[in-house]
């Protein structure tokens, strides 16, 4: 702490002694032209920093500015051109030529607390233009980015719009702390954890979906330690920096309108048995189990599906299998969904002011009735110059997301998929009296769809206010205040026609608020050290606080179904939650480059968190990096084919504290153990005063290569991450009276590589065709974990030392014995019994590699974009099949999937579906490997064809640009997975990925769009 204090003091001293040179000034005139075409450039900026003057060129490229020969440097900038610095020795007329910039190398990339040109980068940063993916029907921009950046694995767990997706940057580093990257929008560290409390069967809404993708200008993904260490405390999982659109100074107002509209549908659903097939299998189960255990007294004679008039034990038969009807509930539940989106924005600026105002409305129906998501958003960004040295600005995002929600995941009450998919097809939705009834323990589908009343409204404000002040020629001070406020209002009303509302109605109301504010100051010092040296020093601090509160009420006993508010309930109970954490940080960073060839960087961040033990609150996170621009060395400079070559390496440390409870280190007693209506006390949590930061060190080495005049560029990275002091809820023996306690007990490693290749295949007057391809591989391993951990009620996932995170923990089915029809499992401990001890780690939820391939083709006024994403080598546990392929043993309680018809029936049958017997006994063992399937896929994420009207034509009606397009998403899916979507995952909780319990698949969609700018 003292060191930081001293550094800050030193900075202050330096700036106080800055001497501003005041001398007699004169004027210089000149013209700015394009170096290639020789045409004048209108509106180029000429800046005299020392004198604090700035002028723009006129229509003919001419300018005139105050200056002192030999002392004042002029900086000439123009969008799309390389910047030039000149130091005129006389007042002679200046003829300045600007070269068009090399897009790749001069691309400005947002990094921690500043920007850099790509050629100066040492760290690994991916920059994404979200405009290509924003029409993909998913609520959040995060879900749309699958396959766009190397090393960023994104899985859409469900096809419901606005639901949370799983994002992993370079693998996962933690068991119990959060593994999602840090999201920063316009300088505000935003909350990316769902505030949802209604159970939708393991699913959660995405707070990222509150942000309108159309307002986003760029997304930068910071991956290695050099790039993320400045965000020390929260950088271990990578950082996603979102920059929203802003106006430009000296630009006339530009109005943009974007409209898209289209439809989405399910390309594939589940194959179910018909009524007669279901009945046949149930009879077969009956007879088989009767043969196995005569005491059950089951035989063909008393089989369930026998003629109605055959009375057994007073019960009539259900009718022969062939007499059974088939009811297609899936068709009733799924629909062709409508999608629509409207965005209108105005942006521009005067000499001292620039602005962007954007309004958007987006409505997406889910393919599963009655779910829909809609979002209205307003974006106002303003910047104002005050004099030549100060600039202030605000960013404001205001949105309202409305969700018509329904349980699209696991669980019986109100479960849409349970009612639609899991109800046996032979059962009529009506009972003998002609009344709609729920079957198999689930709600009646029609009643459910018609009476669903579960909604959530998220009001979100993300705002930032900043001021930049140039304290002297070399020193810039910035202060920034940001807030992320989220008001999340959920309500449910279940009338008495639904299970959850029986017998006389049930309603809940939950209002959660999450307020997180951040304040930061930075000082950036760039001393003039001559042509050869470039030094930048940044020092700063941030303070942040996050407060969560929630009030929840539930009520029962409504007069009738017309009264739906809690005020009409006869019995109401409530609860309240509150939690808070705070973080204080100091950081410093130094960038030094020699001759633009040797780039060096070092940084240090100190973070204090309220979450940790008394003496363990502070963590220190350093990083160093080095890059060598080989291309600028004389020995390669004359190469005709090589246009860029850079080698980069970095090492550093980042931390993690997200996702653990705000009071995880404290020993606590709870007051919520009432008895007989009176409060009671109980031990709640054991203390760990030594609880400290989880730390991840990361080594990165990378290569940037461009050949053939930058026609082909390659970026390659290899990294190794090692996480120590991993935050984990260590399981305790139940005899302690506790289940677990928070500790730093795990070590996890990730290593892998990333490639990104971009090539301009054709570039001439009429045709431009570019291809980019990225692929990444990550190998994850738990290096240290004292006690294995199991997840899920069925222990399908095991975390154990030596295996990757989220290992499937299964009974390995070797084959089905052709003679007996019994499944043969591997007897791991050779005790001739199949018990829990015979489970083993199988398959992997981690892909061997994953990435994306995109092609963009422009021909005259037509444009075509084709974008594929892929994953290879990962497995998905199709747990849905365990329920749907119980071989009739679940009788009237569960549907049977068509695949079950392939069961063994007679000696000699070769199949992997065994003879039908009971459930969770030998042949239908829960956790059997039969349901572990290859989850690899190649998906056509997006295909867009557009036509832009010729400028000559559109200008005539005062239109700047007019483009029509048609875009399709998920038009093609290549996979061996037998379910509708290999990305389906039942649970959004991070330790249970890759288990499919049935969820709406990602839809296939076609939309028409229009872009108009004035």
């Amino acid at each position: 702490m003292k060191i930081i204090f001293r550094v800050a003091w030193l900075c202050l001293m330096l700036l106080t002694f800055q001497i501003t040179v005041m001398a007699q000034s004169s004027k210089i005139n000149g013209v700015v032209n394009d170096a290639v075409s020789g045409l004048p450039l209108a509106g180029a900026t000429i800046l005299n920093k020392i004198a604090g003057k700035e002028v723009l060129t006129d229509q003919k490229g001419n300018f005139s500015i105050d200056f002192i020969p030999g002392k004042h440097q002029l900086i000439i900038t123009y969008t799309g051109y390389q910047e030039r610095n000149i130091l005129p020795e006389s007042e002679n007329f200046l003829n300045i030529l600007l070269n068009p910039s090399n897009k790749q190398l001069d691309e400005v990339v947002v990094v921690g607390y500043g920007t850099q040109k790509r050629k100066e980068l040492i760290g690994s940063v991916s920059k994404i233009d979200p405009s290509e993916t924003k029409t993909i029907p998913a609520g959040g921009f995060d879900a749309q980015l699958q396959g766009k950046a190397p090393g960023v694995q994104i899985s859409s767990n469900t096809g419901v719009p606005g639901e949370a997706v799983t994002i992993r940057l370079r693998g996962a580093t933690s068991i119990n702390a959060d593994n999602t990257p840090l999201f920063i929008i316009d300088g505000v560290f935003i909350n990316s954890t769902s505030l949802q409390t209604i159970s939708t069967g393991g699913k959660a809404t995405s707070p990222i979906a509150d942000i309108n993708p159309s307002d986003i200008a760029t997304i930068e993904i910071l991956k290695d330690a050099e790039a993320t260490a400045l965000y020390g405390s929260r950088g271990a999982n990578g950082v996603v920096i979102v920059t929203t659109k802003r106006g430009s100074y000296n630009e006339p107002a530009k109005v943009s309108l974007d409209v898209t509209s289209g439809v989405a549908w399910a390309p594939k659903l589940w194959d179910l048995t018909s009524g007669p097939e279901h009945a046949t299998l149930v009879n077969e189960w009956w007879v088989n189990t009767g043969e196995d255990n005569p005491s059950l007294n089951r035989s063909f004679a008393n089989r369930p599906f026998r003629p109605v008039n055959e009375i057994v034990n007073g019960q009539p038969g259900r009718g022969l299998p062939e007499e059974q009807a088939t009811y297609d509930r899936l068709k009733e539940a799924f629909r062709t969904a409508r999608l629509q989106s409207y965005d209108l924005s105005v942006s521009g600026g005067t000499k001292g002011t620039r602005y962007y105002i954007g309004g958007g409305y987006n409505k997406q129906e889910s393919i599963l009735k009655p779910i829909h998501f809609d979002r209205a958003s307003l974006k106002v960004n303003l910047d104002q110059k005050i004099g030549n040295r100060v600039q202030v600005g605000v960013s404001n995002t205001l949105s309202r997301s409305f969700r018509n929600q329904a349980r699209a995941g696991d669980g019986p009450q109100g479960g849409l998929l349970q009612a639609a998919l899991h109800t046996p097809t032979y059962l009529s939705p009506y009972n003998d009296q002609g009344v709609l009834v729920g079957r198999a323990g689930f709600d009646n589908l029609k009643l459910l769809i018609d009476n669903y009343d579960v909604t959530a409204v998220s009001l979100r404000y993300i705002g930032n206010l900043y001021a930049d002040a140039e304290l002297s020629r070399n020193l810039v001070f910035r202060t920034s205040w940001g807030i992320d406020y989220n008001h999340y209002d959920e309500s449910e009303y279940w009338n008495n026609l639904l299970i959850a509302g029986s017998p006389n109605g049930f309603a809940t109301s939950s209002i959660a608020q999450n307020t997180s504010w951040v304040n930061e100051q930075t000082l950036t010092y760039k001393p003039a050290l001559g042509e050869q040296h470039l030094l930048t020093v940044i020092a700063g601090n941030t303070v942040q606080e996050n407060v969560y509160s929630r009030t929840y009420l539930e009520g029962r006993g409504f007069a009738n179904n017309s009264f739906t508010l809690l005020s009409s309930a006869s019995s109401i109970t409530g609860t309240q939650n509150w939690s808070k954490n705070s973080l204080a940080s100091f950081f410093g960073k130094l960038n030094y480059s020699y001759q633009d060839k040797y780039l060096f960087t070092a940084s240090l961040r100190a973070d204090g968190s309220s979450k940790f033990g008394v003496n363990r609150k502070w963590g220190y996170f350093p990083s160093v990096g080095f890059a060598w621009r080989v291309i600028d060395e004389s020995f390669v400079q004359n190469s005709s084919w090589l246009s860029d070559l850079k080698i980069r390496t970095s090492y550093g440390m980042t931390g993690n504290q997200n996702g653990i409870g705000d009071f995880a280190a404290l020993g606590l007693w709870s007051g919520a153990a009432p008895y007989q209506g009176v409060a009671g006390l109980s031990p709640q949590q054991l203390a760990n005063s030594e609880l400290k930061w989880e730390r991840t060190s990361q080594f990165n080495v990378g290569l940037d290569l461009a050949v053939l005049d930058n026609r082909i560029t390659l970026e390659a990275n290899y990294y190794q991450k090692y996480t120590r002091d991993g935050l984990i809820q260590v399981a305790l023996a139940a005899t302690t009276g506790f289940e677990n306690y928070w500790s730093n007990a795990a070590k996890i490693s990730n290593k892998g590589f990333e490639f990104n290749i971009r090539s301009v295949n054709v570039n001439n007057k009429n045709v431009k065709w570019t291809t980019s391809f990225n692929v990444a591989r990550n190998v994850n391993k738990i290096e240290r974990l004292a006690t294995p951990l199991q997840y899920g009620s069925r222990n399908l996932i095991l975390q154990q030392e030596g295996s990757p995170l989220y290992s499937f923990w299964l009974y390995k089915q070797l084959h089905v014995d052709p003679q007996t029809g019994n499944a043969v499992y591997e007897d791991v401990n050779k005790d001739n019994k199949i018990t829990a001890a015979d489970r083993q780690v199988m398959g992997s939820v981690w892909p061997k590699f994953f990435g994306g391939l995109s092609n963009e083709l422009n021909w005259r006024n037509f444009d075509l974009g084709v974008f594929f994403s892929f994953q290879y080598g990962n497995d998905t546990y199709n747990h849905n099949r365990f329920f749907g392929e119980a071989g009739g043993a679940r009788d009237a309680a569960r549907v049977i999937f068509k695949n079950n018809l392939k069961r063994w029936q007679a000696p000699g049958d070769i199949t992997d579906i065994p003879r039908i017997d009971g459930i969770n006994v030998q042949n239908y063992l829960d956790g059997g490997s039969r349901w572990l399937e290859d989850g690899s896929f190649l998906r056509l994420r997006n295909l867009t064809i557009g036509y832009t009207f010729p400028e000559s034509w559109s200008k005539r009606i005062s239109i700047n640009k007019l483009r029509f397009y048609v875009t399709g998403s998920n038009l093609f899916l290549l996979t061996n997975y037998s379910g509708p979507d290999p990305e389906s995952s039942a649970n959004s909780s991070q330790n249970q990925p890759g288990i499919d319990l049935g969820t709406p698949p990602q839809p296939r969609s076609v939309q028409f769009g229009l872009h108009l700018s004035l």
Binding site: S472, S571, L666, Q676, S682, S793
Partner: protein, 451 residues
């Protein structure tokens, strides 16, 4: 210009100073819904609340709330599985896996209750508060002793010998790595705890909290399981003689129908208010039309027995039919979910004493007690002087009388009849497996044979 520069320069300096000085306070955040474990049982009020906390642990959904109770009846022959959770079927098939989630939930819940009792037993004796009179202190200590005895009773009858924990856990290393004690040692602890509770508790009547009378009742059951027939009978008599407080209500359903609770039939039951204390047991039993999941339902054989006037009598109120003509169990039915969990009823004490008399060769007295229960159920009185016949009749009677209470499995195991009645091949299955997850965590634990 120079002046302007120095003016700005104060800003970061000031902010930095303020921030650093307030840093340590800024990073101290205290919770509001919980308190530090340093200040827990310190006076009369917190002692009282900590005792309620033990009852609350017993009322938990994983213990007497649902899971433990369901182990007792699912493992018998009264219930069939009609839902989706396959761990339920494991009990019914007598093929319980060590990974059964109901079983591990119950194991953890019982030890959680024991830890709460241990906290009271350990911290309360040193509390000095004038409000906390000697009598109150004794009562609280007595209740904690009784509850700990009941918890170990439930452990030993389900799993056999288990680790004995008699101190509270303050550190993660406390009370872990303790090997299983023998069944004898566990029974001895239960006896000692019950003796202590008997001395400390007042001789009052409370059907929701333990008194000396509750101790008598549990002691009677303890001796039934230990087959010390004299004591089983004499402790039952202590309650049955107190017939102004403890009686059989005129019709079977009277102890639970019409939202009844704490009736004079009840010796000990757990209270749920339906709002902050919810007994979710109904969700497993009630059909969907009543907002339940009908995860399980009465077996065909039980339905037949209950509906037969010669065997079920007015106990047919235990079952009902839904809008799809399916039978469901209706002992747990209230909405909001406030059904009591019945732990000891007067009927049980009559049947314990009947069994004790029969074992002691006193068929007449045995029949007298048995017939009280039968007559109340609307059946005819039995006549016999054959102790074996009477014991068989008691077994059948208990099956129906406690159809959905946690008795059937434990009764058949304790009498050695489970293998025959339930057609179980492997005697090892009579003790349920120690949860596999616990064996992974605690290397000191040993699995029961056969798993």
């Amino acid at each position: 210009m120079k002046k302007q520069v120095s003016h700005y320069s104060y800003l970061p300096f000031l902010l930095l100073t303020i921030l650093i000085s307030s840093c340590s306070r800024f990073l101290d955040v205290e919770p509001r819904a919980s308190v530090s474990d340093q200040v827990t049982i310190t006076d009369k009020i917190s002692a009282e609340q900590a005792v309620r906390g033990i009852y609350s642990a017993f009322a938990d959904g994983s213990y007497y709330g649902t899971s433990f109770v369901s182990i007792g009846y699912l493992s018998g022959d009264n219930v069939q599985w009609t839902g989706s959770q396959s761990q339920v079927q494991e009990f019914i098939n007598h093929q319980v896996s060590a990974e059964n989630s109901t079983l591990s939930a119950a194991w953890s819940a019982i030890y959680r209750a024991i830890n709460r009792a241990n906290n009271v037993l350990e911290k309360l004796p040193v509390v000095t508060d004038p409000q906390l009179t000697e009598n109150l202190k004794n009562q609280y200590l007595g209740e904690a002793s009784f509850l700990r005895a009941l918890a170990y009773f439930d452990l030993v009858r389900t799993w056999g010998g288990v680790p004995i924990i008699t101190t509270s856990s303050k550190e993660p290393s406390d009370n872990a790595g303790i090997p299983r004690s023998s069944e004898q040692e566990v029974w001895a602890l239960i006896a000692a705890d019950l003796d202590r509770a008997e001395q400390l508790l007042p001789l009052t009547t409370d059907r929701f909290r333990a008194t000396r009378k509750t101790v008598y009742a549990l002691k009677s059951r303890y001796h039934l399981y230990r087959q010390s027939w004299e004591e089983a009978g004499s402790y039952a008599t202590l309650i049955l003689d107190d017939n102004t407080q403890y009686e059989l209500l005129s019709s079977y359903g009277a102890f639970f129908t019409n939202n009844a609770r704490g009736t004079s039939e009840s010796v000990f039951e757990l209270f749920y208010n339906g709002t902050t204390e919810i007994n979710s047991h109904r969700n497993q039993w009630q059909p969907q039309i009543n907002g339940g999941t009908r995860q399980w339902a009465p077996s065909a054989q039980l339905i037949a027995f209950l509906n037969d006037p010669a065997t079920g009598g007015n106990r047919s109120v235990l079952i009902a039919r839904d809008n799809q003509n399916r039978w469901y169990g209706n002992l747990y039915y209230r909405n909001p979910a406030s059904d009591p969990s019945y732990i000891i009823r007067t009927a049980e004490l009559f049947l314990i004493r009947a069994e004790a008399f029969a074992q002691l060769g006193k068929p007449e007295q045995a029949l007298s007690d048995l017939n009280k229960v039968r007559l109340r159920a609307g059946l005819v009185a039995l006549e016999s002087d054959n102790p074996d016949f009477i014991l068989g009749a008691i077994e059948s009677e208990r099956r129906l009388e406690f159809a959905f209470e946690p008795h059937r499995w434990f009764d058949l195991v304790r009498t050695g009849r489970a293998l025959t009645v339930l057609n179980i091949q492997d005697a090892n299955k009579l003790k349920l497996p120690i949860p596999a997850s616990q064996l992974l965590i605690d290397k000191a634990l040993e699995q029961n044979p056969g798993y």
